[in-house]
Symmetry: C2
Subunit: 366 residues, 2 copies
């Protein structure tokens, strides 16, 4: 097992990464201070992992469960209310601990429920997808979608601990493994060129879930994220670099309807757009672009926007993105491979050409 | 105008109290850092105060409004979602400022919306009822009710500023003035015996809204609350004393259905129960009890629980109260007039007798 710490003063917490560690009760006992536990999960994850966890924790705690429907389209206020109702019906008090057992959707919703149940109770993240293990379970962003925008309702709220069991990737569909790999690759692109090179050399082993290598990739990803979050918990500045590809990506997700494109898939296509724009600004070389595209393709990710999505659709969606400050579009771009920055300083012609070329390429693709 | 500061490190904020100050634009400009403002209010308050405020702020900002239905029964997730929809439809970004113009219900909901819109945007409280001026607008508690419990969903979230215009009490129904006075009297009881005596001597002038005296009463109340909140922002300890009468009071409110008994009315009847229990424990004298009851009566507040509410109903409701830790009932009681403490150390016989006597007295009352 490997351990790292997210350093946020009195809101610091440990991240544990290893094979089979969801069955190490001590990792949970350290983080639970009351007598009640509510495990929030979804139907798919429950079938694999819920019974074991309930059995383990029931030895010491009142354990209740809340099983949500599976899918991004259920990441709504209505589902969030269902968690609140479960907590109240089982008479959970302010010392209860919420455990989020599942992917990013479960983690975001259970985290927001924990942040706002009786004005805040502790919670533990047990992310079961690669995406949530390397991204959403670390850093304290919680929330739900609104029909008018993704993640528009939520809070910054840190967990007590994150328990990442790499074994849970064995039951993950390949498409979701790829989606998670988009975020892993992102860390190399934004802040760690050697890690990017390591990924190029090991991507095939990662895609077949080589245990040691997947643990390393998750550890490096969480470490990168933890460093950025420690510097800027509430995204006043540097944290924004974690959103490489996300402004384009959110536009794609929203346009296609939540859940039709996976988050990581939309981010992959968005990342290619961001790198292409970085190249047009003279920041990165054609080789950098080609290497990035090649790595994303090896991870079986889309590198083009959805066929038929117009430039107007992109711009309309992006204007409502949280990263749009006072109406001016700001993007995370690369200064070099392994170094990201945030800017609104680019020529509109370059921006339009970047989008138009990608839209054209998508139209041509079979 | 009088000013005081709630001291919470980088979340500190000023409270301004005075006649007509809702029209002092500088108080708002200091606290608004973006270009957008969303005024959240209700139908009743809007009729009196919205037009002026929109006109004043429109000189400098994009001003949008969200007018909610009036009443505690609308303090729900559905109404909260309506605020979120208004913000999104008017394309408010993360630099917007939410202004809560109204009583406690508006303040709690607008505050919770601000706490969770795009994971948190600034807000300003402009409380228009006495209750919200002396209680809910100060201290950062925000939230909505759930059908299974009052204020069960919410967050601690501090405003940028609180602007208390005493002129807005002129349009307040007398019953709501009384309800607010219950909280004013509470501050005397829990931490300020001289203020309690001052209230006894000035209650008649306060009930007729003598300007100087009402400003003094609000100032002393906010000062008392600010001191307690500065010591214990998230109610880990001392802050609980602010809940004198509230455990009984919430049981009454919930049992009667939200909004049928005003919060302050339920707190008044609950306060009498708490003082009576304090007397049974030998903490306060019969004279203290009589003085408290007399002052509450002069403020035209109920001093008995609702006719027909049984002991079982009280206990059942109280077991789900947020202040019940791990199933043991804890109460805020008086050690002396002007000094509160939190305890679960009381004989069940005393507790039962306290409730039974009050229930009996309520049954006898005409």
């Amino acid at each position: 097992m490997r351990t790292l710490k997210v350093d946020l003063g009195d809101r610091s917490y440990p991240i544990y990464i290893g094979s089979g560690i969801r069955q190490q009760k001590a990792l949970f006992s350290e983080a639970i201070h009351g007598k009640q536990v509510m495990i929030v999960t979804n139907e798919t994850v429950a079938a694999h992992y819920l019974e074991d966890m309930v059995a383990m924790l029931s030895e010491d705690y009142q354990v209740d469960t809340c099983i949500l429907p599976d899918g991004e389209r259920y990441k709504t206020l209505a589902t969030y209310e269902q968690i609140m109702t479960s907590l109240l019906e089982a008479k959970h008090n302010r010392t209860t601990t919420v455990i989020a057992l599942g992917g990013g959707v479960v983690g975001d919703m259970a985290g927001f429920a924990a942040a706002t149940y009786q004005r805040g109770v502790p919670f533990i993240q047990v992310p079961t997808t690669l995406l949530s293990q390397v991204d959403s379970s670390v850093g304290g962003k919680t929330g739900v979608n609104h029909p008018l925008g993704k993640n528009m309702i939520g809070a910054f709220y840190q967990p007590q601990a994150v328990v990442i069991d790499t074994d849970s990737l064995n039951t993950l569909p390949e498409r979701e493994l790829s989606a998670g790999m988009a975020e892993v690759i992102k860390y190399g692109l934004i802040c760690d060129a050697p890690f990017f090179t390591w990924l190029e050399n090991n991507i095939d082993d990662l895609m077949t879930l080589d245990g040691e290598k997947i643990t390393h990739a998750i550890y490096e990803s969480c470490l990168a994220k933890a460093k950025v979050v420690a510097q800027d918990e509430k995204e006043g500045g540097i944290r924004a670099i974690l959103n490489l590809g996300h402004t384009f990506g959110h536009a794609i997700e929203t346009e296609m309807g939540y859940g039709n494109w996976l988050h990581g898939e939309a981010v992959a296509a968005g990342t290619v757009l961001a790198i292409d724009l970085s190249w047009r600004l003279g920041n990165v070389t054609e080789t950098d672009v080609a290497r990035s595209v090649a790595l994303l393709e090896k991870a079986k990710l889309p590198i083009l926007p959805p066929k038929g999505m117009s430039r107007d659709a992109f711009i309309g969606r992006m204007l409502l993105d949280k990263k749009v400050l006072d109406g001016s579009l700001r993007f995370v771009l690369l200064k070099a491979l392994g170094e990201a920055y945030v800017t609104s300083d680019f020529a509109l012609d370059d921006f339009n050409a970047c989008l138009d070329d990608a839209i054209e390429a998508a139209a041509q693709a079979s």
